[in-house]
């Protein structure tokens, strides 16, 4: 297999990007937080956890934190620490999967709408505008309620609600790229529309897609937490939002801080982690952005 010089160039660019990212303070903190949660998620079984769904004996109900139960127990005597650790798997999985699906769909539609313009672009953008007009959370709630509680439905619901934002961002990028000379040049030597779109324009929007993905992970984690808190989560997969839902419904919330505060802290810290990373990436990609917004 031969490696094209173009590929090598991109690889070098990627390496430069990462070194910039690590040198950015926000980027570093964000990455550290995300890696910490990734470790929790990957090594969950080895982190002194028990089956998070296992109901304990009645004498262990609502115990405060102790050496045996690091974060205490809930009203069914389940270990809170184990639920937190396994919960990170669900948040991250939903976050990443929903972000990938959203950004893929949104980019494809944005690419087509921006590249073709005219009637097709107009129709696609009208659909995007319509979707953006709908109230996001109520739409997600209604869809999740109708489809039934499962992780896959939550991923679907989050994706279907979020793609229009990405489509809009990508479209505006494509619109400006289309006018550049290198596209003109490729067109002159007879490149097909398909080739132009995927070989010439797409590689140039990949950085924006990456930034969008990070943003979408945040949105997805947030959405999962809210939907689960509202009782629309997957009852077989205990997520942080679900823990809060059960704590809230049990009416014992006021007595058991150890059951309520850790999931809230995890949700907030993970969201802040991805937000920091997203901000750092935008900083690196668009140096003028920070100045224009005065950060």
């Amino acid at each position: 297999m031969t490696i094209s010089p173009r590929f090598l160039r991109r690889l070098k660019k990627l390496r430069e990007f990462f070194s910039l990212l690590v040198r950015n303070r926000m980027g570093l903190v964000g990455l550290a937080i995300i890696i910490l949660f990734l470790i929790l998620a990957i090594f969950a079984p080895f982190l002194r956890t028990v089956n998070p769904t296992k109901v304990g004996t009645s004498k262990n109900i609502l115990l405060s934190p102790s050496p045996q139960f690091w974060l205490g127990t809930d009203d069914l005597a389940k270990d809170v620490w184990s639920q937190i650790v396994y919960g990170s798997r669900i948040s991250l999985a939903i976050g990443f999967l929903a972000a990938i699906i959203t950004v893929f769909t949104g980019s494809l539609i944005g690419l087509i709408a921006g590249f073709y313009g005219g009637k097709i672009g107009e129709i696609l953008m009208r659909i995007v505008d319509f979707f953006m007009m709908l109230p996001m959370l109520p739409l997600m709630i209604v869809l999740a309620a109708v489809l039934g509680p499962s992780i896959w439905n939550i991923i679907f619901v989050v994706s279907i609600v979020s793609w229009p934002t990405t489509a809009r961002v990508i479209r505006s990028q494509v619109l400006s790229l289309k006018e550049r000379t290198f596209i003109e040049a490729s067109r002159c030597i007879g490149a097909s529309d398909f080739l132009l779109m995927f070989n010439e324009i797409l590689p140039n929007v990949v950085p924006i897609m990456f930034a969008e993905s990070v943003l979408m992970v945040t949105e997805a984690i947030y959405a999962e937490a809210v939907l689960s808190f509202l009782g629309l989560g997957d009852p077989t997969a205990i997520s942080w939002g679900m823990m809060l839902h059960f704590a809230f419904e049990s009416g014992t919330m006021g007595k058991a801080f150890w059951w309520v505060l850790p999931p809230i802290a995890c949700i907030v810290i993970l969201i802040i982690g991805f937000t920091f990373l997203g901000t750092a990436i935008t900083d690196i990609l668009e140096p003028g952005y920070k100045e224009a917004h005065g950060f």
């Binding site: 319509f130 007009m133 709908l134 109230p135 996001m136 959370l137 109520p138 739409l139 709630i141 209604v142 869809l143 309620a145 109708v146 489809l147 039934g148 947030y222 937490a225 809210v226 808190f229 509202l230 009782g231 629309l232 809060l244 809230f248 919330m253 006021g254 801080f257 309520v260 505060l261 809230i264 949700i267 907030v268 969201i271 802040i272 937000t275 917004h293 005065g294 950060f295």
Partner: protein, 327 residues
């Protein structure tokens, strides 16, 4: 195209959007797996004959297209179906909850807008100083915390630990209070939920006003005002702030969707008897007709709110009045 043409165009667009929303709403609930009649009544004792009767009554024996027409017809008479949890018309259930939500949201939104604009303008004005970075980092943090988590934290601290505020609801049950005493009680119950919503909105307004302020401060007329030797406070209030506020108004319209999310979360946490809590109740009771109705109300009110904001904006922005659409 003058103001009139602009208004007509916006109104037509809003009507089309509402029709599309009604269509989407219809489709979503037909997407549901299983028989709608079984789902609506969830009672295994219903016989086949009764099911057939119900189907005919609701027009479910007709083809999908016919069903949509009869759905539209019912809707135009204000019939949103029957809530099987409350056993009364969905519209009544919803209208009962609207005043409580408006009371909470309008209070919180007004305060958040007011404070957010002041802090945002201050941060923009004092750009790069400690004041600026303090306001900025606080708003960014608030922005990252889901509204329901914020509500739970406040509930734990101020209601459970300190017992300063009530745990839930809008009034003290069976207190028999009237007049001023009643409103004092409501106000006392409203403190925590309103505070949660204010914190949830305020970041948005701070960031927005700050950004807009920075843009305005770069303008030539500010330089002119400075050169004229005007007082700093005069420049801030008369020249900068007034111009910086225009974009804030538009975004208020866009943000209503965002506001709705906060209302659902906060009302749920504090059991505030408004439409937001109704969503949670409908979900918990699996009351689909109610959920469908609430969604419709939310979606349509967002469209209408945006329409109003657009029209106000068109009225304020002289570029539209003179001609030429604002892009």
């Amino acid at each position: 195209m003058g103001l009139k043409g602009f208004a007509i165009k916006k109104i037509i667009a809003a009507i089309i959007t509402i029709f599309a929303i009604v269509g989407v709403n219809f489709v979503i609930f037909r997407m549901a797996p299983g028989d709608p009649v079984r789902m609506m009544f969830r009672d295994p004792r219903i016989s086949g004959e009764q099911m057939q009767l119900i189907r005919e009554k609701f027009g479910l024996d007709k083809p999908l297209w016919g069903q949509f027409i009869s759905y539209l017809k019912e809707l135009s008479h204000g019939n949103l179906g029957l809530s099987f949890w409350q056993k009364r018309p969905v519209l009544d259930v919803i209208t009962d909850r609207i005043p409580q939500t408006l009371l909470l949201v309008l209070t919180a939104l007004t305060i958040a807008m007011f404070l957010g604009t002041i802090f945002g303008a201050l941060a923009g004005w004092k750009r790069g100083t400690r004041v600026d970075s303090f306001i900025l980092s606080l708003s960014l943090t608030m922005y990252s915390i889901p509204a329901f988590s914020l509500g739970i934290i406040l509930l734990l601290i101020f209601a459970y630990i300190l017992s300063i505020f009530p745990l839930s609801g809008m009034t003290t049950p069976a207190s028999g209070l009237t007049g001023l005493g009643y409103w004092k009680d409501v106000l006392w119950h409203m403190c925590l939920p309103a505070f949660s919503i204010i914190m949830w909105y305020i970041g948005e307004y701070v960031l927005l006003t700050r950004g807009s302020m920075l843009d305005t401060l770069r303008k030539d007329y500010i330089l002119t005002a400075r050169a004229k030797g005007l007082k700093e406070s005069t420049i801030l209030i008369k020249h900068a702030l007034r111009n910086a506020l225009l974009p804030v108004i538009t975004v208020t319209g866009v943000n209503i969707g965002f506001a709705v999310a906060g209302v659902i979360e906060v009302e749920t946490v504090f059991s505030w008897p408004g439409i937001g809590r109704l969503v949670y109740d409908a979900v918990m009771k699996r009351d689909y007709p109610l959920l469908q109705g609430v969604f419709l109300v939310f979606a349509i009110s967002i469209v209408l709110a945006n329409l109003v904001i657009d029209l106000i904006y068109g009225y304020i922005d002289p570029r539209i009045k003179v001609g030429g659409e604002k892009k």
